[in-house]
Symmetry: C2
Subunit: 333 residues, 2 copies
């Protein structure tokens, strides 16, 4: 419920993520690494001596983990569990948009019995966040940086880390395509596509999410029709009131989400006026729902930017002539 | 001879490095990787299905390799061979201080039969180098950056790469210590220490080089006396005339080397007036030779900056009480 209030997560998304089921598994899986952290014995080219090169993997010290609000619990669990299991301490900078959820996760982990100082939680108002991240990255005590979030901010974090020659591990936005070939089980493909496109309002970028659907042109019309029909039936609501809605609000975190998503959509239509839109209900409503476009050209911003919302591009392709090139675009910073 | 002229390499260093013996072995070893580039089959937690995750390692495209003048041939070989063996093409930016040597290496590799465009060489005057590196890192065609050089420039390269979210592989300056315990064979240790400290005027940072000697106090006096004696006998000269000299000139590449090294030395003496200097011949000569200091304190710049010259710090330590802490300082950007 905390997470429904903070980030508009429906019961479906909370069930996958926030209620600690998946997150607890992350800790269990991470724990299994503890005895698997191996160094190496490396051969040398001095065959006539007993010389030997040996590497050891050792903890480096405090890790700064910065996580977003969208995979609220599971991304926090990952950013905490793995550094700890490898013997480091963690400075966990929670998202400004889900401070209560991230504080709760910290509390759960600390109550499991960590010594003082091993897991350190902090949060801030959104306007002070860049300044605080900067100070932490610059601090000589921080040895590595782990960031999950937008491509734009990831590039800034990486630049600051590079200034101090600190390694960073980034998980940024993607444009992950779902490819549907002409021999696919269309029902199953539509089901997976709807799930991947609209889970948590399309605001995630994990293995279950998809930003683009690339469909063989032989089945594209049939696929798009079924996809639109299913998408239109997704229930929208306020998860604090109706937890079983599928599409929750986006304005909880980003008040300008509606304008941004409508802007992307309008941009696509402006550039490709004959764009066959299978369904675009509620474009002007307060709460965006599911929209589908097919065949916007590369001129459209929507095709290269991660929309982070309930909007999906369908490309149909001629399998023989176009190959994989449709699937290689990536999110731009 | 080209390399003696360009970077002041003696026959000893050239023999190890520049005459393509070591470099040819780098290509042979890299070639053996070609059939060892493996993806992975990753287990999933869906035990009741046939689902499977498979990763493939694929070439990414053009790699920018920027190399320094100090490991003239061997560092160039490494920066060319490994990306090529992994199926990429290489834009090889040679050092401004060894353009002829780097052009020669490129020519050798190209004559081995590479198709056009696979290995691309460029060089420039020193003043245009930052601008050219910047343009190359920004170019969308360049996918990865490989840089060997100073810590300071490495940080700049990493920041530019981060701006475009391009991965880079950096090998920068170190403060690699040679540790001599009280049961060491002192003759052998002195021999290794002199080799590691003064090969190519101490301007390298490879496994054979050492920036600091950490010696157990029980044998420190004896070690320093022998080290100083051996160091004083190293012959200095111009390798274009006397190829068998050990210490060549540094001014070929950096006209201000003498002032810089003398400054580091003076700084150490100023901060620690009672510094027992075992040998510092020719401080004011045109051509610096071998200097040794023992026990400068942490206040001294020389202890944390990579000197890139024939100057070496000897720390004596009490093994039981001080442990490894002496060996963990690193080069600062």
């Amino acid at each position: 419920m905390e997470t429904a209030k903070e980030v508009g997560a429906s019961a479906l998304w909370a069930g996958f993520n926030v209620q600690m089921e998946t997150s607890a598994n992350v800790f269990r899986e991470a724990a299994s690494l503890a005895t698997q952290i191996q160094g190496e014995t490396i051969p040398t080219d001095k065959s006539d001596t007993l010389s030997m090169e040996t590497t050891l993997r050792q903890p480096v010290g405090p890790i700064l983990s910065i996580v977003p609000w969208n995979g609220t619990a599971v991304l926090a669990a990952r950013a905490i569990a793995y550094p700890l299991v490898c013997g480091n301490t963690v400075v966990f900078k929670g998202s400004e948009f889900s401070p209560a959820t991230h504080a709760l996760i910290t509390q759960c982990v600390q109550e499991a019995g960590l010594p003082a100082g091993v897991l350190n939680y902090l949060n801030s108002s959104p306007d002070r966040s860049p300044e605080i991240a900067d100070a932490l990255i610059s601090a000589k005590e921080i040895r590595r940086i782990n960031f999950t979030g937008s491509t734009r901010v990831g590039s800034i974090i990486a630049q600051k880390a590079a200034q101090h020659l600190k390694r960073c591990l980034l998980e940024l936005g993607g444009k992950s395509p779902l490819i549907v070939l002409d021999d696919a089980d269309i029902d199953a493909a539509v089901k997976a596509a709807v799930f991947g496109s609209f889970l948590f309002q399309g605001q995630i970028c994990m293995e279950t999410s998809t930003e683009r659907l690339v469909v063989d042109e032989k089945i594209a019309d049939e696929f798009v029709a079924q996809f639109a029909e299913k998408a239109k039936r997704l229930s929208a609501g306020d998860p604090c009131v109706t937890g079983d809605c599928i599409i929750g609000p986006m304005e909880t975190v980003s008040p300008n989400s509606r304008e941004r998503i409508n802007g992307l959509f309008k941009d696509a239509i402006d550039k490709e006026p004959q764009l066959p839109a299978a369904a675009w209900p509620n474009v002007r409503s307060c709460r965006p729902r599911s929209w589908i476009t097919s065949n916007p050209t590369c001129r459209s911003t929507m095709e290269t930017r991660k929309p982070s919302g309930p909007i999906t591009v369908v490309d149909s392709l001629q399998r023989e002539t176009e190959g994989n090139s449709h699937c290689t675009t990536r999110s731009t910073p």
